[in-house]
């Protein structure tokens, strides 16, 4: 090969690099290993991770994933393919993505879905940018966001949209219901001068409570405000999906729906990869960021699939693109599509309903313990806020640490994001938690709360 090139050594091929800039040995990189040794290392690392019973949700959920899902997803033909730019040689990925879009629009009752965004949080940010581009009637670039929207979603959205002079305005929640009320929303709108570009609603919200989506959606539309839904797609098998929000005859449904696809077939995996789902009404399709697959025909009029509307994207439109996104989360979408196909609507409904039932069981068991009470009235889906009696004098973090020592990942500590709730935790039981598991949690919590505060603190320290 060197002969063909006409050089004496591989090193000659680097002769355009200024010699004094050449790298030395990469000392801080260890020596190479073989697969046998790496396997051993990784098994050790993996075994250091927790195997606690998980009652933690807060945006990532432990669900059953059929074995078939990832066995097919990691087939080389899906796993090691690139973005399907050469359509004829990528019909597998393209048709699958089209099917994904079809399933996601069916689940959300929206018109259009893209092929995915990075995750739920960044997808909310893109939804906001999209709303700002789309709502030509509004000039304010103000977005109302209830504080019942997942705090990390709000933070992420802020990071991403702040460069474009967009203002995210908090809407406080009702402290009895754990939801926002139309009155509150109206009040903030008024305070902000009336012109609001879009409003975000999470269903179920971060507390697991169910927002009054119909009334708020209709009101928003009356006020030229676009509605951005943040959803957990699994729950949409049972809950009224964003495309159907509102009771008004004209302009029904949320305008944009986003959320994290993780519950549909992605393992928790320390945080990812998951994917951001993003759907919208037909009218907004040209404002959609990201890839979209369309069905078309070939020279013989045979059905086929291609990436379409690419003129929105950065590789064509460059600085005028709808987003800079390029690589998305395709493989996770592959898994998710297979997951939805195997489950069908009935499977998803049964799973979602089991989560609802198990969470209720959990809450019942835990609130039977002295000093533990449910904070918000009304139905909870999937997750519930519990308050630990302040009289015990123990912050939630300590209780959770003590639970962890007993092999129970007991929930999310709300005190940092919602100090007003006191020593409160967000608990969650999916279909994976059976009665025995719930019993174990209840017993552990009982024991922890019985412990003296002093012992607990000590324990937490040593953990």
């Amino acid at each position: 090969m060197l002969d063909s090139i006409g050089v004496d050594s591989i090193d000659d091929l680097f002769d355009e690099i200024p010699a004094h800039l050449r790298a030395g040995v990469l000392e801080a990189v260890p020596h190479g290993m073989n697969e046998m040794d790496i396997s051993r290392l990784m098994r050790e690392r993996a075994s250091q991770n927790s195997t606690a019973l998980c009652f933690l949700g807060a945006g990532a959920y432990e669900h059953h994933i059929p074995s078939a899902v990832w066995e097919i997803t990691t087939r080389g033909e899906f796993y090691s393919a690139y973005t399907p730019y050469q359509a004829e040689a990528s019909q597998g990925t393209l048709q699958l993505t089209y099917e994904y879009q079809s399933m996601m629009t069916a689940l959300t009752a929206m018109d259009v879905s893209n092929a995915s965004m990075y995750d739920g949080a960044s997808s909310l940010a893109e939804a906001i940018l999209m709303a700002v581009r789309a709502n030509r009637k509004s000039k304010s670039r103000k977005i109302l966001i209830p504080t019942t929207v997942n705090p990390v979603y709000r933070k992420t959205a802020h990071t991403i949209v702040k460069g474009q002079q967009i203002e995210l305005v908090d809407v406080p929640y009702d402290h009895a219901a754990g939801t926002v009320t139309l009155e509150q929303v109206k009040q903030i709108q008024a305070q902000e001068g009336g012109d609001i570009t879009a409003l975000v609603l999470q269903q179920p919200n971060f507390f697991g409570c169910l927002e009054d989506v119909d009334a708020i959606t209709d009101w928003a539309h009356e006020n030229n405000i676009l509605v951005i839904a943040v959803i957990n797609p699994l729950t949409m098998a049972v809950l009224n999906p964003p495309g159907n929000w509102g009771v008004a005859d004209t302009n029904p449904g949320a305008d944009i729906a986003c959320g994290d696809g993780q519950p549909l077939g992605a393992p928790m995996s320390a945080g990812g990869p998951y994917y951001g789902l993003l759907c919208c009404k037909q009218a907004l399709v040209r404002q959609m960021p990201g890839r979209i697959v369309g069905r078309t025909v070939d020279l013989d009029d045979k059905e086929g699939f291609v990436l379409t509307l690419q003129a929105r994207e950065q590789h064509i439109r460059r600085s005028k693109a709808t987003s800079n996104i390029c690589t998305n989360q395709g493989l996770v979408v592959t898994a998710s599509t297979i997951y939805m196909a195997i489950q069908g609507a009935q499977g998803l409904e049964n799973t979602a309903a089991a989560c609802f039932a198990n969470n209720n069981k959990l809450v019942e068991k835990l609130t039977a313990i002295d000093g533990v009470k449910k904070v918000f009235a009304g139905s909870h889906f999937h997750e519930t806020v519990l308050q630990l009696d302040k009289s015990s004098g123990r912050p939630a973090s300590e209780v959770l640490a003590a639970l962890m020592d007993k092999g129970v990942l007991g929930g999310f500590d709300l005190s940092l994001d919602y100090p007003e709730l006191g020593s409160a935790i967000l608990v969650c039981a999916t279909e994976m938690r059976n009665d025995d598991d719930i019993e174990i949690y209840a017993k552990a919590l009982q024991e922890v709360l019985n412990m003296s505060a002093a012992t607990a603190a000590q324990l937490a320290e040593s953990a």
Binding site: M42, A89, S122, T159, Q310, G347
Partner: protein, 483 residues
């Protein structure tokens, strides 16, 4: 046939969900869904068969040579997949307390260190979930840096005209104006034009080196000097890092911030479109601005840094920790390589590209930039063939598919007419390179003797050439089931 078309009322993969639907009647009626979602209703076997067969309709690295320029389609060692999918990693909730997450955090901390060493940067954040998000983080940090110094007037980002679309798109997302810098015929940035362009409004320059034209930017020191003296920062788009791994480090070239596409250089799979990772590295002065979370080690324990630790951080880019499954695969891959392997990557990627370039020339193709070393990729322009035989780069691409090769990148960079950007990577054997060049030569001959073959390509794939115009005009973006 769509999965929806296999559907039959009431069918499902029964063992995959609870047998009965628990009551949800305590939820107010108006909050409940009225009809079932129109999802396909199929057996597990039907789903398995459908998606297994669909998969077979893809080209992929595991089945074909895939010399897609700028994308670094190298072999994804299967061990990276199986080890990253060990239950201990898969079952970890992202909010697991750090103390119970030490195995994973150790990998992430070491990954940060290895990336620092390989790129010559001082610190890394693994948060960005793809190259574009890495760019976003980088440019946002540049912005934050200037603002932290009260230097509020820097509202412009410079990008060469050869740059990838994500560069200008990102700058705009971060609130900057974009100014393009022309490229010389020899592939280098027009230094004079750059000098003209910089000023007190310059926030920074985004550069890929080796550039998307497949050559190393020889004036990189001069460029760095110009930008730095104007008060701007230098951003390194790491898409082409594979070309120089262990040979020269972006930090040593003068870059202040870089992203690395771990799904290119570090071999995490592209997965038919993603997920990826765009880990960002910075020089000392930008450390406070790194996106969250990053992993640190104190008292022998690994932990995530929080907003409290890093008040100047540009913030979070995702709900949790970017794409840990991708990061684990990159970590495992880097441990495979080690320091010696990294150098080997650049050497063989470069050797393969230069060999193919020499072969292309020998076989009568026109190089976009002649007389220079190829980096890990190089460009053929088919403008002569287009003019003489009315065959386009697209036709060449489609015909290659018929011959069992994935097409190179076409029509990028936009500067070069009718171009093929060819990147073999280090994982391919000489036989694959030769086979591809033979195919290319055959097509060139066909273009001369019988261009119809090219126009009618592909003929051997599941579909013939697809009507993209119709797709964009008669939008059909979702199957609507009749219920």
């Amino acid at each position: 046939m769509l999965i929806f078309e296999h559907s039959s009322k009431g069918r499902r993969g029964a063992p995959q969900s609870p047998a009965e639907k628990a009551s949800v009647t305590s939820i107010p009626e108006n909050l409940l869904r009225k009809d079932s979602a129109a999802l396909p209703e199929v057996s597990e076997l039907q789903a398995v068969r459908h998606y297994t067969r669909l998969s077979q309709k893809n080209f992929s690295i595991d089945t074909e040579f895939y010399p897609l320029g700028s994308c670094t389609m190298k072999y994804n060692p299967r061990a990276c997949n199986s080890l990253a999918m060990l239950p201990g990693f898969l079952n970890a909730h992202p909010l697991t307390p750090d103390a119970q997450n030490q195995g994973f955090l150790a990998c992430m901390h070491e990954l940060q260190s290895m990336l620092c060493e390989a790129t010559g940067m001082s610190a890394f954040s693994l948060a960005p979930m793809a190259g574009a998000q890495g760019e976003f983080a980088g440019v946002a940090m540049i912005d934050a840096y200037h603002k932290s110094r009260g230097d509020d007037a820097r509202k412009e980002i410079l990008v060469p005209d050869a740059a990838h679309g994500t560069n200008p798109a990102t700058a705009v997302m971060c609130g900057f104006a974009v100014k393009e810098i022309p490229t010389l015929d020899n592939g280098d940035v027009d230094l004079e034009a750059l000098k003209q362009a910089v000023g007190p409004q310059t926030a920074g320059l985004m550069l890929t080196n080796p550039s998307t034209l497949g050559v190393f930017e020889r004036n990189i020191e001069a460029i760095a000097k110009v930008v730095h003296e104007a008060g701007g920062l230098l951003y390194y788009d790491g898409a082409n890092l594979n070309a120089i791994l262990g040979k020269i480090r972006p930090g040593d070239m003068g870059f202040d911030v870089i992203h690395s596409n771990l799904h290119k250089t570090f071999s995490t799979p592209h997965g038919g479109g993603g997920p990826g990772s765009g880990a960002v590295g910075v020089a000392e002065r930008l450390i406070p601005f790194l996106p969250l979370p990053t992993v640190t080690r104190d008292n022998e324990q690994y932990r995530y840094l929080t907003a409290e630790d890093c008040p100047q951080s540009i913030g979070r880019l995702s709900a949790f920790m970017g794409n840990p499954g991708v990061l684990l695969r990159a970590y495992i891959y880097m441990r495979f390589l080690g320091r010696e392997g990294m150098v080997r990557v650049a050497e063989f990627a470069t050797l393969n590209a230069n060999y193919m370039m020499a072969e292309a020339k020998r076989r009568g193709f026109t190089l976009a930039i002649d007389g220079r070393r190829a980096s890990h990729e190089f460009i053929i322009t088919l403008k002569n063939e287009a003019r003489e035989h009315h065959v386009s780069a697209m036709d060449f691409a489609k015909r290659l598919l018929d011959l069992g090769y994935h097409a190179p990148t076409t029509y990028f960079p936009l500067l070069v007419p009718e171009c093929l950007l060819i990147e073999p990577t280090e994982s391919e054997a000489k036989e694959a390179l030769d086979g591809f060049m033979d195919a290319l030569e055959q097509i060139k001959q066909e273009a001369e003797s019988n261009p119809e073959i090219l126009h009618a390509a592909p003929q051997t794939l599941p579909v013939k050439r697809l009507d993209e115009v119709r797709a964009a005009k008669q939008l059909d973006l979702a199957f609507k089931a009749e219920l």
